[in-house]
Amino acid sequence: MLSFIIRRLLLLPVTLLGLTFLIFLFMSALSPYALLSTYVNNPRQLQAPGAAQNLIKQYGLDKPFYVKYVSYLNQIIHGNLGWSQTMNETVVQVIKTRFPATLELALYSIIPIVIVGIWLGVVAAVHHNGLIDQILRVVALIGYSVPAFVLGLLLLFIFYGVLRWLPPGRLGLGFEMIYNSPAFHHYTGLVTIDALLNGRFWMFLDALKHLIDPVLTLSFLSWAGLLRITRSSMLEALGQDYVRTARAKGLSERVVINKHARRNALIPATTVAGLMFIGILGGVVITETIFNYPGIGSAMAQASEQLDYATVLGLSLLFGLITVVGNLVVDVAYALIDPRVRLG
């Protein structure tokens, strides 16, 4: 067990190095001038005549690739990801202001995924091959088949276009001004929590109202998958000897399902839920763009459209970091929860 965790931890820097190298490889396709934006922290540095030439020399952008790679790593370690042209601030600043919004969205999205996905998966397995199972199968497949941009547009159409209930954005205009005012304390960066901590209940409700649509869109992508996995692991658990024993002992079917089978079936489901949390991060690009939600996903889409290399590369580094660390946490957690897991 311990050796597995140590091995995984030792692999972490290797993967991270590989990650930066991959980003660096993509960067090498760009000209030194295009690359400058990922190094320079302030556009004013470029204004002096001949400044660009000097900076290219200074960062070694005209040197062979290994020199450039080291210089790139050096920049990352010093927390310098360059200047974002689309947002008009440093990329690090973009991440600081926008990442909490994305985190908030992802945190709220995982709740319906886990509750609905696991619950329906257990129901489907208990009614194996029955009518409910068949219906859930079709529902899950429909869930797979509706892409985020279609679902998002439909929700926007129904709840904003027709009903006028759930507007896009993160906060209403009035609350947005309060949020940005100095009187408002930013404890966590998560609007819902900060609003409550500041004692502004109506602002909390307004933030929730803005979250409903994007959360529905994001979670819809994943709950169908979790349903299928819970179903099959629940079916496996129901076929085990300890379930037969429990039934033979004369335990009620409810106890057999809830206490014996479901607990064991939840182990793989938990892991998948962890992986889904990471998967959600890929979905934020579309979802945030549709609902004008100011997170790193919409920043990514906007920057990419305007060929703002620094922002795209900087944000992709962040996405990569979260994925790698998240995968590690899930792996280790899985090994800790389930001692039977084969470690390799």
């Binding site: 497949l141 088949s145 892409p147 279609v150 547009l153």
Partner: protein
């Protein structure tokens, strides 16, 4: 051949599976007969949607434009029909290339094991370190938008799925006695791979590829939706959806259903297309994957 007939017979047992097959066949025939269903206005470039006028405001369905026109007077019906071709083309090209790369790498890793396996799997891990969609966006930002570039970007960040699947599957098959017997008989490595390992471990890959025929074209459509995919006017479902985005919210007091056709027809097409392939993949999984027989 006998196995194939058996699979077909099983497929036609469930009404749900039949629905999947019908949907897939429907979209395949739409793609094949696209020039008959919607004769191209510019024969030298049939993928460009014909534009009847330059007015930005969408026009409701009429005898000339049975699904109406969307923003910029692009014919929605034409876009839906030729968009099917775009979707299938993207799916076949991307999945085909990803399969070749993935199967090659996965097989090499599983067959040789040891440091080859370790090296190839670490490379795979690095590509998996990005959320798929994010990785694709990075590549497109650098090589530029366009339908061909989108396909390259999708291949670059999708082959890992197949590599991992085939590797895991081969590692299982490798333990079988018939493989050891072949090794003991001195069968050359290439022959063991093509005759014993691949045919017996390909099923999960086939199932995955069938499901991917739904997701990959939709990912490409999502990129077009963001303005990173096909150029303006290219027959592409994602583009139709992105045109619709500007018209589903009418100023308060207006009729919200005024431009319903801009979003309705593309959405229904997209969902039915994906549903067809997903149903097909699900059916294949039920039949081919022995672990699902519980």
């Amino acid at each position: 051949m006998e196995g194939f007939v058996k699979v077909l017979r099983k497929m036609f047992r469930h009404p749900v599976s039949i629905a999947g097959i019908i949907l897939v066949l429907l979209f395949l025939s739409i793609a094949i007969f696209a020039p008959l269903l919607a004769p191209p206005a510019y024969p030298w470039n049939p993928y460009m949607m014909p534009q009847s006028g330059l007015s930005a405001v969408p026009q409701p369905p009429s005898p000339q434009h049975i699904f109406g026109t969307t923003q910029g007077q692009y014919d929605i019906y034409y876009g839906v029909i030729w968009g099917t071709r775009t979707a299938l083309e993207v799916g076949v090209v991307v999945i085909g290339l990803a399969l070749v790369i993935g199967i090659l790498i996965g097989t090499l890793a599983a067959y040789f094991g040891g440091w080859v396996d370790e090296l190839l799997m670490r490379i795979t891990d690095i590509f998996l370190a990005f959320p798929f969609f994010v990785g694709v966006i990075v590549v497109i930002t650098i090589i530029g938008p366009g339908i061909t570039n989108v396909m390259w970007a999708l291949v670059i960040f999708y082959w890992m799925t197949y590599a991992r699947l085939i590797r895991g599957s081969i590692l299982e098959v490798k333990e079988n006695q018939y493989v050891m017997a072949a090794v003991a008989l001195g069968t050359p490595g290439g022959r063991i791979i093509t005759r014993h390992l691949l045919p017996n471990s390909i099923y999960p890959v086939i199932i995955q590829a069938s499901m991917d025929m739904a997701t990959i074209p939709l990912t490409a459509a999502a990129l077009s939706f963001l303005g990173l995919g096909a150029p303006v006017g290219y027959a592409d479902w994602g583009q139709l959806a992105s045109f619709a985005r500007n018209w589903i919210i009418t100023p308060s007091g207006g009729n919200p259903f005024q431009y319903w056709y801009t979003i309705f027809f593309p959405s229904v097409t997209i969902v039915l297309y994906a549903l067809g392939w997903n149903l097909l993949g699900d059916t294949l999984r039920d039949i081919l994957d022995p672990r699902m027989l519980i």
